[in-house]
């Protein structure tokens, strides 16, 4: 796969220096580069607290849900991208969350995993919808995402179906004082009949360059 080593800003500055691009404005090339660069940028995923339940050395797994686990089956998928929308193939994605009853596994690694990437920065994992931890307001999944040359992202995924939002996360997302960005509340797609219902969420993870 073709990889771009220069940022768009660096590219236009280099093109101008080599004479392969000319401009017809009075703006300096650095300003043009900045405008062009910023027009192409995706916004980095907002950060959120790491929290006190992070545990090092979680195992590699895509299947966090075991047979018999209580709770609504949940699939989370997305891509790890840079701010130009390029997939970060060498990224590392680590997740952890409470079980259906709102309890974290402290002694072991249930509902904790490093997610192997599937190519072009794509990731997915199966789990259950987390319950409400007693000292937190919202259901959430913790993410720790890193990639060479990029700022490590610590964030949390929240669910638009969380009863706390009463169906209106735009209005009610601030009910959790730790939830500082509406962007982190993602739509939930429910499929299946009442006996086989499962939830799916797409969560794109955009990392800022160093």
């Amino acid at each position: 796969m073709l990889k771009y080593h220069l940022s768009r800003r660096e590219l236009i500055e280099k093109c101008a220096a080599l004479g392969v691009v000319v401009t017809a404005t009075s703006l300096p090339i650095s300003a043009i580069a900045r405008i062009w660069d910023e027009s192409e940028l995706r916004r980095p995923t907002p950060p959120n607290d790491l929290g006190p339940f992070y545990k090092k050395r979680s195992p590699q797994a895509r299947e966090l849900r075991a047979a018999g686990d209580a709770g609504l089956p949940l699939t989370v998928k997305g891509r790890v991208l840079d701010t130009r929308g390029e997939g970060l193939e060498d990224a590392k994605v680590e997740v952890w969350h409470a079980d259906h009853f709102g309890k974290y596994d402290i002694e072991g690694y249930r509902f904790r995993a490093q997610i192997p990437l599937e190519g072009k920065g794509a990731y997915s994992f199966d789990s259950v919808m987390p319950g409400h931890y007693p000292a937190r307001v919202c259901q959430h999944v913790h993410f720790l995402v890193s990639a060479p040359g990029h700022k490590t992202l610590v964030t949390q995924l929240y669910f638009a179906t969380d009863p706390v939002f009463e169906g209106d996360p735009d209005k009610n997302f601030t009910r959790d004082p730790l939830l500082t960005s509406r962007e982190l509340v993602r739509p939930v797609v429910l499929t299946g009949d009442p006996k086989t219902m499962r939830a799916a969420v797409n969560f794109e993870l955009c990392l800022e360059r160093l």
Binding site: G51, P52, F53, Y54, Y104, I106, P134, V154, L178
Partner: protein
């Protein structure tokens, strides 16, 4: 508020019934004093000379004498919520961290504010060096702020890699500051240069309580992995660990003579459960005393200069102070 931020001065405590391996160490706590408060006391701090400060639900801090329960002072903070309180200078001063990011030093006797710092972020934990020259404060962000108290200037912003600080501890000579983070590392800084001297990376879970031994050589860490680890502060290596119990250590204090460590435990998934307290011998690593009643919900504790280990409980009407001898 962080959902698991704890220190002796910031306990919102609870727990599960634990089975400890040292049943012979069970001891009956002695009720030292009952103080009428007529409202909930969120957390407390003790001074070695026998005072208790309690943060009330109404954003006041009451200060009482443990000898006779006499109210020494009631400090009001209006709309600002105290997030942290502790005594300094053997009980003559009080340091308070407020939700608006301010840190205030109060003279206990006169009530005068001696110093006010704008820390920016609400300080969940504040520590002052024994000589009173340095103050370290940390909130939910990834920085520890180190202040020079004489000039009220921020001298260093000490970075944490991934998470907020859980606890801080100065070495007795003030030359070293240790800070534990939610990223599970413990950082040891040179307070003069702000440079990291070493990082303890071996632990898998957050260390919620930190305390230096009086010799400054050993650092005690009460961990989310249910154990107390004894760390060589010079090398950052874990030298030994006291046996793991059945819940995380959420707060830790060391006796003035360095011979014992008080540890408070609580089930991580039961933020309002009970809080067994164990007193460990630093020499033998054995439990000397314990208080593990299922009803125990301590909201602060520490050591008095006479060697008593004390802790407090509250029921909405009374603040009760207990000792374990």
């Amino acid at each position: 508020m962080k959902h698991f931020r704890v220190s002796f001065a910031g306990l919102v405590l609870a727990g599960i019934l634990l089975t400890f391996p040292f049943a012979s160490a069970a001891s009956e706590p002695k009720l030292e004093i009952k103080i009428a408060v007529n409202e909930e006391v969120s957390f407390t701090a003790f001074s070695p000379d026998g005072k208790i400060a309690g943060v009330l639900k109404s954003n006041k801090i009451g200060i009482w004498s443990l000898a006779d329960g006499r109210q020494i002072r009631m400090v009001e903070f209006g709309a600002e919520r105290p997030e942290f309180v502790d005594f300094l200078d053997n009980g003559t001063q009080l340091v308070v961290g407020l939700r608006n990011g301010k840190i205030e030093l109060h003279d206990v006797e006169t009530g005068k504010i001696l110093r006010s710092l704008d820390n920016g972020v609400p300080p969940g934990v504040v520590r002052v060096s024994r000589d009173g020259k340095l103050l370290a404060a940390a909130g939910g962000d990834r920085e520890v702020h180190l202040w020079d108290l004489a000039t009220a200037k921020l001298v260093h912003q000490l970075g944490l890699e991934l998470g907020g600080a859980a606890d801080l501890a100065f070495s007795p000579d003030g030359a070293t500051l240790a800070g534990s983070s939610e990223d599970t590392n413990i950082y040891v800084w040179d307070t003069r240069t702000g440079v990291v001297k070493n990082v303890v990376r071996e632990l898998l879970l957050t260390t919620f309580g930190l305390a230096f031994a009086p010799d400054g050589k050993w650092l005690y860490g009460g961990s989310g992995d249910y154990a107390i680890h004894v760390i060589d502060a010079g090398s950052g290596k874990i030298a030994k660990s006291f046996p793991a119990q059945k819940a995380p250590v959420i707060a830790l204090a060391i006796s003035p003579d360095g011979k014992s460590v008080m540890a408070v435990y609580r089930d991580a998934n039961e933020p309002h459960g009970n809080t067994p307290i164990l007193l460990w011998s630093t020499e033998s690593g054995q439990v000397l005393r314990k208080s593990d009643s299922p009803e125990l919900r301590a909201n602060g504790g520490g050591f008095l200069s006479d060697g008593r280990m004390v802790y407090s409980t509250a029921n909405g009407n009374e603040l009760r102070v207990w000792s374990l001898r």
